[in-house]
């Protein structure tokens, strides 16, 4: 059996068809890919269970005035609150199974085809525990941490000397003003900036980012990684856009690592294309 020298005995036993009668540690579920699973383990964590939370939400109706740039706060609130609820349900499940945190959280919003005012929000991720029971990886208030980083990014983040605290987000639904008739007339044949549009998009993005940043401050984070800014319209009238900022708030593992300790990535040129 010299061929199998690199393969641990447990694995060979299982390949022979031998199985344990029971699983003392219980069985875990996760939505990791094989590579994610390996990297989460390499980072010193073990998956324990898939955590899901959902929220079906009736989104109120709000109209912006025709020629005003303004935030539609009813919609902003709806989009934020519903996501927050789905996340909270997910976190509850993680707490219930004793997880230190949730990795690879995916947040989705789905419009249900049979009602245009009802949105389904879902949060799903894999609850993990530190394999050696290290207590220092919990999120704020001793709650499980949450992170939308993949297993790969999770490993990389820990290696860079940071740990995730909490997924932070900010939402702003904005009504972009329509242009008045006179204004449009004046612009005919002109190359010119449409400042009210620029301003609207700027402002909305700014508000979303600011809200996310506030959440990070509250969580006691040093920074936010992997921030993504989404723009979307969930079946609202034209001129109504949601800006949604989401990222993972992080903090140094103990004290900030010196830059020289962080391993330099190797530059490679793949030739297997």
């Amino acid at each position: 059996m010299s061929d199998l020298k690199d393969i641990p005995p447990h694995a060979i036993e299982r390949l022979r068809g031998l199985r344990r009668a029971g699983h003392p540690g219980g069985i875990f579920t996760s939505d990791f890919s094989v590579n994610e699973f390996l990297l989460v383990r390499k980072a010193g964590f073990e998956p324990i269970g898939l955590c899901v939370g959902s929220c079906i939400y009736h989104v109120g109706i709000q109209y912006g005035s025709w020629n005003q740039n303004q935030e539609l706060d009813v919609l902003s609130q709806a989009m934020y609150q519903a996501r927050e609820l789905a996340m909270a349900r997910m976190r509850e499940e993680a707490t219930g199974m004793g997880a230190d945190g949730i990795v690879g959280v995916e947040l989705t919003v789905k419009r249900l085809e049979w009602d245009q005012h009802i949105l389904e929000f879902m949060a799903i991720g894999t609850g993990v525990v530190h394999a050696k029971g290290h207590p220092g990886f919990k999120g704020p208030k001793e709650q499980p941490f949450t992170s939308d980083l993949s297993g790969q990014d999770f490993w990389t983040l820990l290696h860079a000397g940071y740990r995730p605290l909490e997924m932070v987000m900010g939402s702003c639904v904005y009504h972009v003003a329509h242009q008045g008739m006179m204004r449009s007339m004046r612009n005919v044949g002109q190359n010119t900036e449409m400042t009210n549009f620029s301003q609207a998009l700027y402002d909305a993005r700014e508000i979303a980012m600011e809200r996310m940043q506030n959440e990070a401050t509250e969580a006691g984070a040093e920074g936010v990684v992997g921030v993504d800014l989404h723009e979307g319209s969930h079946n609202w009238q034209p001129h109504v856009i949601e800006f949604f900022a989401v990222g993972t708030a992080v903090t140094p593992i103990s004290t900030e690592q010196d830059a020289s300790v962080i391993p330099d990535p190797q530059l490679v040129l793949s030739v297997n294309s």
Partner: protein
């Protein structure tokens, strides 16, 4: 799609008078398939092919790439033959449970072929379906490469690994054995009188306000959790962990006519790869970070397709 014509011609051949009927050999073959499927065994010609492959009389067949072949051989893993399991399943009583049964039957057939080969494992197992709907039915197909591991006796119950050979070997080194496929499929109904109906009946200002629909939320979350619980149960028979790669959920409204509040149907299917592993056994490989110097799409950055086509991936359900 001439092959499709052949299949359909075989089924509905009698209706098309002009066509030449199947030959005696065809008839015999199909009779043998029929009795074999009924008796849960393999037709003699399939057994003969597999026996020839097992003894090395015919060339081996593998879905592996050249790199994977080399890697697998370096660890003493030899490909034998491609094996498959197919089941065209009609869901009369339940679409959701039908999916679970269809996959389980296809799995049993795949394992049957692997056992006939004297294989230890089937790697690179992919879930496929054909884009063809006939009534309330669908095909469930699994294909993969049966392998034998040097020094191990033939397995009574060869393991089913949904990962390619490359990952299979990497997992084994890390003391993780992908052993099978687990399925959780559940559907529930929510009867009239839900908060949804109540909400929609209200008139005036409240339509304009935001509100959580707790009953519907709970119902839907419950359906999903029930499917996950079933996945858990199914996996427990095979190993001690699941990597669930496929999630499919639908929440549907069923109108009951005027003045009657609607009913809801929630159905959820989740499928995963079952693994057997010792807790906290560590990963023996060193991991180095690299930056690819390619400008065009890098094979390192390129997300590899899974090869499954049976369900749309969950990302398609809706962006953030």
């Amino acid at each position: 799609m001439s092959w499709l014509g052949n299949i359909l011609g075989g089924i509905f051949g009698a209706a098309r008078g002009a066509q030449v009927g199947p030959s005696e050999a065809d008839r015999q073959r199909s009779a043998e398939w029929q009795s074999a499927l009924q008796a849960r065994r393999l037709p003699s010609f399939v057994e003969a092919r597999l026996a020839a492959a097992a003894s090395g009389k015919v060339p081996w067949v593998a879905t592996m790439s050249a790199a994977e072949l080399g890697f697998a051989r370096s660890k003493g893993i030899r490909p034998l033959a491609m094996v498959s399991g197919t089941c065209w399943y009609h869901y009369g009583q339940s679409w959701t449970h039908g999916h679970a049964s269809g996959w389980h039957l296809a799995l049993a057939r795949l394992v049957q072929e692997a056992r006939a080969l004297g294989a230890n494992a089937v790697v690179d197992v992919k879930m496929r379906k054909i884009e063809l709907t006939i009534g309330d039915s669908m095909d469930f197909t699994l294909i993969g490469t049966a392998v034998r591991i040097n020094g191990l006796p033939a397995s009574e119950q060869p393991i089913v690994a949904t990962v390619p050979a490359l990952e299979f070997v990497r997992l084994l080194e890390a003391d993780i054995v992908p052993v099978g496929i687990a399925i959780g499929a559940q559907f529930h109904y929510l009867s009239p009188g839900s908060d949804y109906s109540a909400r929609r009946m209200e008139v005036g200002g409240s339509m304009f306000s935001n509100a959580v629909l707790p009953q519907l939320s709970q119902f839907w979350e419950g359906t999903r959790r029930a499917a996950l619980k079933e996945l858990h149960r199914d996996a427990q028979l095979q190993g001690n962990g699941v990597l669930a790669h496929t999630h499919l959920g639908q929440l549907m409204k069923i109108e009951q006519g005027n003045n009657v509040p609607p009913r809801f149907l929630g159905r959820h299917i989740v499928i995963g790869t079952v693994v057997q592993t010792e807790r906290a056994s560590g990963v023996p490989h060193d991991i180095r970070t690299v930056v690819d110097m390619r400008d065009e799409l890098s094979p390192l950055a390129n997300a590899r397709a899974t090869g499954h086509n049976a369900y749309p991936v969950s990302e398609e359900e809706g962006a953030i």
